[in-house]
Symmetry: C2
């Protein structure tokens, strides 16, 4: 008997992914007992952490980290290849549906030294009893990047927005947006439109950017506006206008069809 | 007949000052017709702007700018000696009663070049169609210091707070706070308390900072807290604790007396 066990963390990571992606990953992650005797470095990576040997399997854009056990393997993590980031920032506005003025900054612990805070305040430098010191010595941890004077109201708004997104469910939102995008794209004839957004299954974007081959993008953006559809007109370095449609989970398939209808008729 | 006329601007500036200060300034600003023939530079400054000769008279911490007219003089400006600032910043929180995260930054036009913005964004550097440029060229005017991504909600809160303060009236608020401070101070025996706040009429502070001569400041702050009075304990570089009472216009004289009562009895 050969067992593949997902621990609590990897099971949660797996279930946070879109359903179709989960199935794809499981289909690809086919490890046979004999593979374990012969974990060659071309298919498997090896990491040693805390005296534990962890193997890494590449499945699409994901990395499955697992450990050998007497019964088979235990999967510890299922992480996107870009998970192991040094710096990550995200504004609360736009996709996150929160207010302008708040956001999230993540800095890997080992990179804290590397980044100098933009602002110095009473909270992120050592200032006992709010008495300014001769030398600037930053506080440790995330506090190094929080000068003080919290932007409380937008932060509370972001918290509310994150709660809403969690309530709906990230994988559900992701599935929904990709379906909306796919619907819109399927209604647009490639003979009439050039697409900028990636096509492959691995790099799906949450919006669709394209331009008409025969008329100016501006004309179609105007036509959409007249039909109460708000999209973004973006200009690239070659001065080409592109139409960017950015649906969110609350948008409907009927709306995507309506957009396509206006675009095809203009 | 010798006329002293305040134009609209100087009249407004005058009436924005506390009543007692207005009277003091008018009492000091005694110009006789013969003075105009003999505007010596020790008592009067001379500025030439737009081919106009403006005289400056020093009265306490104010500067009265006036012009000679056939009938006497016309007062153009009544400005505090510190009015002519290069840089001024004020947070919306604390005295302004607004939210944390918003504030006002004033930079004299001739100093715009001198100050480099802390942040670079899509709004404060030239970026036609949001396309980043090879060189950073700042926008002109106040926009140089507004990187974009407005912190709308706290700014709206600050606007509300400013409207509230204007509604009550700045000179009324100023008079009220100074009276509250004076009341509190008059109830505290200088034999028992040392005062840090300035004493003179010209540099009144909007809060009173002091410490007891016979007990620790911490003890009195605790006693106040037990009586539902929130004050700030501030520590100086010599490690002395000071009690800071910061009343605003909505505080009452009864509250000041209550504070003094607790302090005198503890």
């Amino acid at each position: 008997m050969f067992q593949i066990i997902f621990n609590q963390l990897s099971a949660a990571e797996m279930s946070a992914l879109p359903k179709t992606l989960q199935l794809d990953l499981l289909a690809e992650f086919q490890i046979l007992p004999e593979d374990l005797e012969n974990l060659d470095s071309s298919r498997f990576g090896l990491l040693e952490r805390d005296r534990k040997k962890l193997y890494r399997y590449r499945a699409k854009d994901y990395r499955i980290y697992f450990e050998k056990t007497p019964e088979g393997i235990t999967v510890h993590r299922v992480l996107h290849k870009n998970t192991n980031v040094d710096f990550l920032s995200a504004g609360a506005q736009k996709w996150m549906l929160g207010p302008s003025g708040a956001g999230i900054l993540f800095i890997k612990k080992s990179r804290h030294e590397l980044l100098r805070p933009m602002m110095v305040g009473g909270w992120n430098v050592e200032s006992p009893n709010f008495v300014a010191q001769r030398e600037i010595r930053y506080e440790n941890g995330g506090r190094k990047f929080e000068p003080g004077g919290y932007n409380n109201i937008p932060i509370a708004g972001m918290q509310g927005a994150i709660a809403l997104l969690k309530d709906v469910g990230l994988s559900k939102i992701s599935d929904r947006i990709l379906s909306l995008i796919a619907t819109l794209k399927s209604e647009l004839d490639p003979a009439d439109f050039e697409f900028l957004s990636p096509d492959g299954s691995s790099d799906h974007a949450s919006f669709l950017t394209f331009r008409p081959r025969r008329v100016a993008s501006e004309k179609l953006v105007d036509a959409l506006a007249k039909n109460d559809v708000v999209v973004s007109l973006r200009i690239d370095r070659a001065n080409h206008g592109w139409i960017r449609v950015s649906p969110h989970f609350y948008n409907t398939f009927a709306e995507m069809e309506r957009i396509a209808e206006v675009l095809n008729q203009s």
